[in-house]
């Protein structure tokens, strides 16, 4: 044991003498672990919230029976099934409005509720009596209670009725109200009706479903993935892709640091072997050293990852709420698995980055003379091999682009593009530098190019990291800018009305309409409404459009049939959103079956419109037709056409008259500002991760240059000896770094545009269902070019300054120690 410790101490002593190299290694590992685990923390937080939502009284995790057409059905079927041995429990679901806000109401039967269904035990034991006995209880989450601004035990009003007193249950998700099914039937005016039957796991003899319910009900098996999880998959995949990219960029630093340290320690390793340390023991201790460093860096990386996640969580939560309506608590809570996984990823990353060096150590020939920077000698062979792999990766990416048809294949195309470009970069740089060398005539210029080529092998990993970070920045920047432009012009057309109202209930809506008809500044009242249904197991919104010129003139359609707006009046046609059209492979002229309470509603598609930011498919139909087919929907929504100058006064009058607050009454400008704010927050996370990745690439360049700077002295000292001043040498060094950085950046720009095209035309279409037009923003590219060169300048400055200020004695020493 003491032998191992002694060898370990010797190996570690290298780091004590080369603290910058140790810092490089640790920074690489810490950045990689921090960014990866930060993103994982965000994903885990969101997913656990989805699970919490799904677990609320039987979501997608419980097998259920529903009616064939998706509508409610008679409670008698529940009774019949129980008698036939089915462990079913009824649930009625609907929406109620409390003070103008819409809440999801769930009516459950606590007596038959299967024990494995989320939250059931809390009712089953203590509160059963008070829950079912009039006036009953309404279970809400602490967040809902606080957003209602009332105390526990209060009985708010909804749909003209007094609700049961509120009781807090911490496990519930926000915006969900849970009551006894009898109370729900009363509140939703659906006596004797249920939405679905939850099926418990109790084993026993059951009469076949068809014998009890005929063809009225169908069984939906439990799903491992919740609706919300499915909807938000693309968002989390995006985050994960970024985390992975940052992780790899971090590992580039680690690989560079470990490679250099290994080459510098070759003589030490040989001495250790000569002193009697066996190869097996030496390799074991090298591994122990690496794992120890990875664990230390992993712990620091996890703390940094936690801080990154905590900083980004508000933006992520706002994005998920804005885009998908998902409620994510603002407080980060992490499971022990996250900490363990972070350490594992740190160790695995370090091992992956050190593989080449460890293999060299295993094969270390005992008698070979010490050859610092041996990789330079093998550079040519490596370049050919790397270029061949790059071409193979490009070919695989092209094949995936052609044949792939999933989000994963879209990301694989992106990964292939980036990996291929990174692997091909050293060969391209070598080619350009050798061209420069061939054209040079002056002795110093020839040395400049030749030395740049020699330096390339030590810098290539950092330059690859820079290429990746820049390309992703260009790609994501172009995508966001394209999205931003398209989104804003789309929003202008989509928000057609000047004022939007959501009344507390139908009665108030009628009162408001009556009052508005007497207001001369109101040009038109545009009633609106929404219904929800499911097509092919996925949620779809049915959206009612009033038959009015406002929509005909301004509503943006991507494709449409002749006289589409006129044909919409008939009630048997509809416009569908782009994502629904792509998902169901529908085109103008096709027909779609929409499950409705009275039976399927067959609609002909007469138009396709963009619906950015909506994860659900949407169908726009004539408002009157919607109310006929979905008679139960609230008629509380309306839009107003008002002269812009009259909007503030009208809003003020509406607030005074009907006590409407900002949640129920909003003008177009505020709504646009809010939508834009949500949009910007959505990409704030992307921008932050983008900046982190670029920062890590900058650090990679800095650390590579710093670690290389010491080993560069033997190359520079002879030039100094023959009369080139230190200042001039420093300037040449700076110019060299900036040259290779410039070539890399110039290569990164077209690669980034290719990445942007791939994001817009492949990944976005698969992830969100919409395709955005591709624009190039030259100013943005110039800006990034400036940032990249500034990063290279900052990275190169420290080693260059050190060289410029170096004492002649240090340079003389090179000759004294020359072997």
């Amino acid at each position: 044991m003491s032998r191992i410790l002694w060898i370990l101490a010797v190996l570690l002593s290298h780091w004590r003498r080369h603290p910058m190299q140790l810092a490089t290694l640790l920074i690489g590992l810490i950045s990689a672990t921090a960014l990866w685990s930060g993103v994982q923390a965000l994903n885990q937080q969101a997913r656990s919230s989805y699970d919490r939502a799904a677990a609320a009284f039987g979501g997608a995790r419980t097998a259920v029976l529903v009616s064939r057409n998706g509508a409610t059905f008679s409670q008698q079927l529940f009774v019949d099934l129980r008698r036939a041995g089915w462990p079913v429990s009824p649930v009625l679901e609907g929406r109620v409005q409390i003070e103008g806000r819409s809440f999801r109401l769930l009516g459950v039967d606590p007596v038959t509720l299967p024990s494995e269904v989320g939250n059931a035990p809390a009712i089953g034991r203590a509160g059963l009596q008070s829950f079912v006995t009039p006036p009953g209880e309404m279970l809400v989450s602490p967040e809902t209670l606080s957003s209602l601004g009332v105390a526990e035990g209060t009985s708010p009003q909804a749909n003209g009725s007094i609700l049961p007193p509120l009781r807090v249950q911490a496990q519930l998700v926000p915006d969900l109200l849970v009551v006894d099914i009898g109370i729900a039937q009363q509140l939703l005016k659906m006596p004797g009706q249920v939405s679905r039957l939850l099926i418990g796991k109790t084993k026993g003899t059951r009469t076949p479903l068809e014998n009890v319910a005929g063809d009225k009900l169908r069984l939906i098996e439990p799903d491992a993935e919740t609706d919300l999880a499915r909807l938000t998959d693309s968002f989390h995949l995006n985050l994960t892709a970024f985390g992975l990219l940052s992780f790899f960029v971090g590992l580039f630093i680690v690989n560079s640091a470990i490679g250099l340290a290994f080459e510098q320690r070759l003589p030490m390793l040989r001495t250790l072997r000569a002193c009697g340390v066996s190869a097996r023991l030496l390799n074991t201790v090298l591994l122990v050293e690496l794992i120890s460093l990875a664990l230390v860096a992993g712990i620091v990386g996890l703390v940094c990852g936690y801080l990154i996640a905590a900083a980004l969580l508000p933006d992520v939560a706002a994005s998920l709420r804005g885009l998908y309506g998902a409620q994510i608590p603002g407080q980060l809570t992490l499971k022990p698995e996250w900490w363990a996984a972070g350490l594992v990823i740190s160790v695995l990353g370090a091992l992956a980055a050190a593989t080449a060096s460890l293999l060299k150590a295993v094969r270390l020939p005992l008698l070979a003379a010490a050859q610092p920077y041996a990789w330079q000698q093998a550079q040519h062979r490596w370049l050919i091999l790397q270029s061949a792999v790059a071409l193979a990766v490009f070919a695989a990416a092209a094949a995936l682009l052609w044949y792939g048809d999933s989000l994963l294949s879209g990301f694989a195309v992106l990964a292939g593009l980036l990996l291929g470009a990174a692997l091909g970069l050293p060969a391209v740089l070598e080619l350009m530098l050798s061209l420069g060398q061939r054209r040079a005539h002056h002795a110093l210029a020839i040395w400049f190019w030749a030395d740049s080529r020699q330096q390339l092998s030590g810098l290539s990993l950092a330059l690859m990291a820079l290429l990746l970070a820049l390309a992703v920045n260009v790609g994501v920047g172009t995508m966001v800018e394209s999205f931003s432009r398209t989104f804003i012009s789309w929003l202008d057309g989509r928000l057609a009305a000047d004022v939007y109202i959501n009344a507390a209930d139908d009665a108030q809506a009628v009162d408001i309409k009556t009052w508005l008809r007497d207001r001369p500044e109101v040009d038109a009242i545009l009633p609106g409404g929404r219904a929800e249904t499911q097509i092919d197991g996925a949620p779809v919104e049915i959206f009612g459009l009033a038959d009015h010129a406002t929509y005909r003139d301004r509503w943006p359609l991507l494709q449409s049939a002749d006289r589409a707006w006129i044909r919409l009046r008939a009630g048997d046609t509809g416009f569908i959103s782009e994502q629904l059209a792509r998902r169901m492979k529908l085109a103008v002229g096709d027909q779609i079956e929409v499950p409705a309470p009275g039976g399927n509603w067959t609609l002909e598609v007469v138009g396709i419109y963009a619906d950015y930011g909506n994860p659900k498919g949407q169908i726009a139909v004539n408002f009157a037709a919607l109310t006929r087919r979905f008679p139960g929907i609230p008629l509380t929504r309306m839009g107003l056409r008002v002269a812009p100058a009259a909007v503030p006064a009208l809003i003020s009058a509406l607030q005074d008259k009907f006590a409407l607050d900002s949640r129920n009454l909003v003008d177009q400008a505020t709504l646009k500002a809010e939508s834009t704010r949500i949009f910007n927050r959505t990409f704030a996370v992307t921008a932050a991760l983008n900046a982190f990745t670029l920062g890590v690439a900058g650090v990679a360049l800095l650390t590579s240059l710093l670690t290389l700077s010491n080993s560069r002295l033997p190359q520079l000292a002879p030039l100094w000896a023959i009369g080139i001043t230190r200042r001039r040498l420093a300037a040449i060094e700076l110019l060299k770094t900036l040259s290779v950085a410039l070539i890399t950046t110039l290569l990164a720009l077209p690669l980034g545009l290719l990445v942007a095209w791939c994001l817009l035309a492949v990944v976005n279409v698969k992830a969100f269902g919409w395709r955005l037009p591709f624009h190039v923003f030259p100013l943005q590219l110039l800006e990034l070019l400036g940032v990249a060169m500034a990063a290279a300048l900052i990275a190169a400055l420290l080693p260059v300054l050190r060289l410029a200020r170096m004492q002649p004695a240090a340079l003389v020493k090179i000759f004294a120690n020359e072997r």
Binding site: S2, R3, W6, I7, A9, V10, S13, H14, W15, R16, R17, H18, P267, M268, R270, T271, L272, R273, A274, C275, G276, V277, S278, A279, R280, L281, L366, L367, N817, R819
Partner: protein
Amino acid sequence: MTIGHQIVLSVRNLTKAYRSAGEEIAVLRGVNLSITAGERVALTGESGSGKSTLLHLIAGLDQADSGEIRLDDTLISDLSDAGRAAMRRDRLGLVFQQFNLIPSLNVRDNLVFQSRIAGRHDAAWHAELVERLGLGDLLNRYPEQLSGGQQQRVAIGRSLAIKPLLLLADEPTGNLDEATADDVLALTRDLVTRTGCGFLMVTHSTRLAATLDRHINLSAGLVA
């Protein structure tokens, strides 16, 4: 320490050949030699005569094609890589022309390194070595802060710290000026006498070779 006629190294019919450009070049063609405890032997020869190869084979850094090398009672050619490593660690001292100190360890740690990993650290012997080698003021310095002569003294101290059976030195004074070389060799001779180990030194210098007990010349792969 017994200084007598106990044979610590015995080499019999040792051969070694290398392949270069498709041609086999015989470096050692049946070398025989033996060294007794306390005996100090110089190995000379022209460049390419196989001196360093012979030393590397004895040290177990390389493997012979045929013949046998016996260190005390151990047949080196029978040992595995780990066995040869253990032999170097516990029973051999190695000194190279390039000093081969560990650059990240200071003099103190370099001196004790081999004896520590061999588990044979002897504090009194260590103190004596430091004093005899004149390293007392240099213990906290790093190799790069030492002159060539000082570095070689540390290397000798490190290899003798385990009181080896045999000290092997490959051109230990090759990088030193004449006066320093004489000093270093004188010190080595004294310490070898003090420990009673065998000493085999490869050198180009017939002047230095003459200061040892016996002089073996290697020519065309054979002991002349």
